[in-house]
Subunit: 333 residues, 2 copies
């Protein structure tokens, strides 16, 4: 668990897209960020107060989060001066970069000397159990995709927000780096040892109040041959009561797999539901979440109407039109 | 890759079952074992020549394989004297125990001093790639189970043996500890990091001659909630042309999961085939392999006949009646 609130480190971000982790925190957990730290030449701006380390410390920040990825995912020497000063000021550091904080001898030495923590969220820090498949209390919704990177994290976060706005009990459960940095906790599922994947998901979504929903971030796709095993662990370990099918309608082929066509929404519905019923016979598919960012407004509305009629399920773009109808659909459970 | 041939270390095995790794090597790769090493009180016997370390060395043995598991899977102090002497005589050591050879400071120090290798086959020694899903040459058969421990390794080994007896090209591809020790190579799939599981299976079953078959050892079950992600990686990474469904008909519930019933053979057939077709649209289910060890001969024959009629596929117990008919069935591919 990463201590909040954060100071968001934007470094020398070459463009706004490079700061997508910081943007995710800003969009979904604004209370988790007291300010931003930008270096000369930084091209990203979260519209948060620019702060020095001392100012952020005074404002209560506990952790400096690396909210930016530079080319190659490495920790540049230009950043080191700030990171070391942050440790010395009493901040923990958190990062989702491939280049681990703990693998930098200078950062490691200063963290040890100052007693601060280095959170590399790509690396599991928990010894997860083997899944036991026992029925847990509370309810769970899992986003399953036709492909990778179709909006599963966004969908789960958007549904969680609507639940909270309505005063309902909900927890977003992060299963990837960005999600973990947004919420300060979660399981980096793609880095877990195979035997413990489903157990890690059980651990992440424990017994809860009967009217509490876990909104579980999906990973990969049952139809993506590189990562389908990770998705499977979510379907079985997550023991979902509700599935939301996520889709991006303009893809030619599966991400990173030229020659692999996307499955139909019907194929994902049927496959995910049959597999989910192994762990929870009462599971239902409750809606379709479509990422329409590459469609115009009329085109998007027409596509959503067609999917809704065809599937007999609410079909929405939660970014464009909100996640309310997906949350409404949970009422059938 | 572990150097063969082996000297099989049976230690102080409390009963024959404790030496099942040695038994697997003896049954399936007898040429890999020049002899056995037994300590006082050993209750297992592979019917191989009992040899001292020096005798085994003279007979050409390269590796001492720990073919026995004692309670708790630990490396006992009673074994250490032999293991250290073996390193000093020039043997490598190989083990599938949870207690790693490399975690024993004395073994590690002697191995370093003597320049010998410690093979802990539970731990991957290769940096596997992310799966790319590209079509590979050669053919692949995967054993998929209704449950864990229903005879998938046995089925693949038995089919591989029949192929070789017929002068056909075949490789058994090990995906678990015992299989790796039997053949000297393979992937300990349950210990691979999630993102690389399918890539590890691709790595294990590379391009080959058009008429060559990989007989891939299965793991877990698509219907076993603890390990289904591992199975999924085999179905997609293995890119199978042929599936054999493996079953044990007397189980009450899924192994380790009270309350979870076994799926029907039809459910496994349909689910595994639909998923396998994502990676290989030409995949077919070619037969059913039934572990009838808990049935009498008449009962076994009646059960197999019923399954064969119901499924329209050859149904055999390869232990009881041989794997010939499963190999015959590959001809449809």
């Amino acid at each position: 668990m990463i201590e909040t609130p954060y100071l968001l480190f934007l470094g020398d971000a070459p463009d706004p897209l490079a700061a997508k982790v910081a943007q995710g925190i800003r969009d979904w957990r604004p209370d988790n960020a007291v300010g931003q730290f930008r270096m000369d030449g930084c091209k990203a701006d979260m519209k948060l107060p620019d702060m020095t380390l001392a100012e952020a410390k005074a404002a209560g920040a506990k952790t400096l989060v690396i909210g930016v990825a530079n080319r190659g995912g490495v920790i540049s020497q230009a950043w080191k001066k700030v990171l070391i000063a942050a440790l010395e000021e009493g901040f923990d550091l958190a990062s989702g970069l491939h280049n681990l904080l703990r693998d930098e001898p200078d950062l490691k030495a200063v963290a040890e000397a100052t007693g601060r923590k280095l959170h590399d969220v790509r690396v599991p820090s928990v010894k997860y159990p083997i899944a036991n498949g026992e029925k847990r209390t509370g309810k769970r919704c899992l986003a399953v995709g036709t492909d990778c990177s179709v909006g599963k994290m966004y969908t789960a976060l958007a549904m969680d927000r609507v639940m909270k706005e309505r005063g309902l009990k909900s927890s977003f459960r992060a299963t990837g780096q960005t999600g973990i940095l947004i919420t300060g906790e979660g399981v980096p599922l793609d880095a877990v040892i195979a035997d413990f994947m489903a157990g890690a998901v059980e651990w992440l979504t424990p017994d809860n109040d009967a009217d509490h929903w876990d909104m579980i971030e999906g990973q990969g796709s049952l139809f993506h041959v590189s990562y389908s095993g990770v998705t499977m662990a979510l379907v079985h370990g997550g023991q979902p009561d509700a599935l939301v099918i996520c889709h991006e309608p303009t893809r030619d082929h599966m991400r990173g797999l030229p020659g692999y066509k996307l499955p139909s929404l019907e194929a994902v519905r049927d496959m995910a539901l049959e597999l989910a019923k192994v762990a929870n016979p009462d599971c239902r598919v409750i809606g379709v979440s479509v990422n329409t960012q590459h469609l115009g407004e009329d085109e998007a509305r027409a596509y959503l109407a067609e999917v809704e009629a065809r599937m007999g399920l609410p079909a929405v773009d939660p970014y464009r039109h909100g996640a309310d109808r997906l949350v409404d659909a949970l009422a059938v459970i």
